[in-house]
Amino acid sequence: MFASLIHPRVLTALALLLAGAGLSITAWQGPDNAMLVPRIVLTIWCVVALAILIGELIRRVPVKRVTLTPLPLLMAAILIAAIATASLGFLIPALPLVALTLWLFRIRRPLPLLLGTIVIGGGLWFLFHHVLMIRLPALLTNGVI
């Protein structure tokens, strides 16, 4: 029973139900007029998420063997780079992110890794920010980097 509870599909359904319930509390505490539609939406969300959770528990899909992968590292790197862009500008977080992505996708020889990082990370930033003049978040107020 406990094994079926920690199945990823069950946990996803549970997380959806809890998220829906938490947001519903916020919706019911807000102003009636503005929150009319969100209340309906979140109520449907909670009811459906509960039905999915019950369905996943009944279905008892066998739990796959858990293997360690560096995927959470890639996810964390993307999230950290996204957060850091607000304070460091676009280029500085993008370069290590591209390098890490290339490394994780097995481009590990120094020259292709370096060239890939410079061309994909720096090159695209330069193309959009300085050539096409589509301004990306910058570190310096004059917008150079």
């Binding site: 916020t26 919706a27 449907i44 862009t85 890939g116 589509i134």
Partner: protein
């Protein structure tokens, strides 16, 4: 007539033609690389359009869209791996033809059928969209509410995966659209005291996260899979006699694609399979289908490319996107000052006709560019996956942040990417999430306006007008049909589970 000539003048500028060539060519390449589809292609090219005028930017995006739908067939034929889900049915006969050494014939039919389907659907679009727009003027708030409800239900009901999972994703997308200031009262909703959230969540960062970034995560999980050996890619167009022999198949596939594409929530993949199923019943060479018969390729490719034109009918005339790709195109249109909906054909008729002309030119460009593009695939398949994925991450970041210049959009894209990966692993369809976010504001504003008109009496919605009543009846029928189909499916599954048990129990 003056309007069409003026629209042609807008479409035949050197900037628009260059955008069509670049967009179509890039779309063919992106569509042909397995895993990257129309949405990733549009994500990559969207930031390039910000400095362009309306027609040039839409020409680039339409080129990418149509090109990618065709490009998916190339890998379906060459390596039995559809570049996009829309081309899955092409593998049934395309790959057997490659195995028989008829790769040039298979690619030739795929290219010609794509062109034929695309052009025919453009012609239908030109005739049908204005008629639909004239009818759409009769739609008030309550009719729009009923129509959006019906569209939402269709999209959830037909989306891949379970109905409940589609519904919860649709509600999630709807919820995303409610974040920020309430459009009627101005009160903050779900901002949690964060000022940056007051402006709400933008569609593009959510789409970028849900499709492009989650694709990077999915590809990362599957990066240990072995590369496939690629055969020599050549192309030979069918001659007039061969086309004449299979003209009925071409027309049938194109009409099926055009019809299915105009229905919200269906899309090109469904059209291709429906058309293939029709060919299995009606083609004079149906006995050969699945063994390397060009009729199979024609059925799949003419219908999936016919969807590219007809999918614009509900998008432009009613403001209801048929699938994720048209939802994204709709988002791009709004960025460039075109607001799809009932007033579009009246207020911006010249722009709409220019888009129709662009669609036809794109299909011609696809035919011309097919030969040089196919030759490139032998080299492209040798490109390490890491460079492609690194590029997607960068383009996703640029696409997400450059719409509003708000760094919070990057965080939204990253979080949506992680959420979408988890949902994909759990078997949740993502299309309803995006469609819910697109249709959410229309649904909310029409409901609240409708309640104001009817003085808070929701029951009067059902008797407000003939159109509204018809739409509510259709909603009811759809709910009954979906519930019955679900119960029958559930019973069939229960029966299938019991069957294997009976022999052993009888032996015991």
């Amino acid at each position: 007539m003056d309007m069409i000539l003026a629209a042609m003048g807008d479409a035949f500028t050197w900037q628009a033609l260059l955008a069509i060539v670049i967009g179509t060519w890039a779309g063919i390449i992106i569509g042909g690389l397995p895993g990257l589809g129309s949405v990733v292609g549009l994500t990559i090219f969207l930031p390039f359009t910000f400095g362009m005028d309306v027609i040039t930017s839409m020409a680039l995006l339409i080129g990418v869209y149509c090109g990618s739908v065709y490009g998916g067939s190339i890998t379906a034929i060459l390596i039995n791996t559809p570049g996009t889900p829309q081309s899955a049915a092409t593998t049934f006969d395309g790959y057997p033809m490659t195995q028989q050494g008829r790769v040039d014939e298979a690619l030739g039919w795929a290219t010609f059928a794509s062109f034929f389907g695309g052009v025919l659907s453009c012609v239908l679009l030109i005739f049908c969209a204005p008629q639909l727009a004239k009818f759409a003027v009769n739609f008030g708030s309550i009719e729009v509410f009923a129509l959006v409800c019906l569209a939402m239900l269709c999209i959830v009901g037909i989306s891949r995966g379970s109905l409940l999972k589609g519904l919860v994703c649709g509600m999630m997308g709807f919820f995303f659209s409610t974040v920020g200031s309430d459009p009627i009262t101005g009160a903050d909703r779900f901002t949690f005291g964060t000022y940056a959230l007051s402006s709400g969540l933008d569609l593009i960062p959510v789409v970028v996260g849900a499709f492009a970034l989650s694709e990077v995560f999915v590809r990362f999980s599957a990066r240990n899979e072995e590369a496939t050996i690629i055969p020599e890619a050549r192309l030979r167009f069918p001659n007039l006699r061969e086309i004449g022999r299979r003209l009925i198949e071409l027309v049938r596939g194109s009409f099926i694609g055009s019809f299915v594409g105009a229905l919200p929530g269906t899309g090109a993949a469904a059209a291709a399979f429906i058309s293939y199923a029709a060919a299995q019943k009606l083609s004079p060479r149906r006995a050969n289908l699945g063994k390397g018969e060009p009729d199979g390729i024609i059925a799949s490719e003419s219908s999936n490319n016919a969807v590219t034109g007809s999918a614009f009918i509900p998008t432009l005339a009613l403001g209801i996107p048929g699938d994720v790709v048209t939802a994204m195109m709709m988002g791009a249109m709004v960025i460039h000052g075109i607001t799809p909906g009932v007033r579009l054909m009246v207020d911006q008729a010249q722009t709409v006709y220019a888009l129709f002309v662009v669609l036809i030119i794109v299909n011609v460009a696809m035919l011309v560019l097919s030969k040089p593009s196919i030759g490139l695939f032998r080299y492209l398949f040798k490109l390490p996956l890491g460079f492609v994925m690194g590029g997607i991450v960068m383009f996703s970041f640029i696409g997400a942040v450059s719409v509003r210049g708000n760094p919070l959009d990057l965080v939204v894209a990253a979080l949506t990417g992680i959420l979408a990966y988890v949902l994909r692993r759990g078997g949740y369809p993502l299309a309803p999430l995006v469609i819910g976010m697109v249709l959410g504001p229309a649904l909310e504003s029409s409901l609240r306006r409708g309640l104001l008109i009817s003085r808070g009496d929701f029951l009067s919605f059902f008797t407000h007008s003939g159109i509204a009543a018809t739409l509510f009846v259709l909603i009811g029928l759809f709910l009954v049909w979906t519930t019955m189909a679900g119960v029958l499916d559930w019973r069939a599954k229960i029966a299938a589970r019991r069957e294997p048990v009976s022999p052993s129990s009888s032996r015991a």
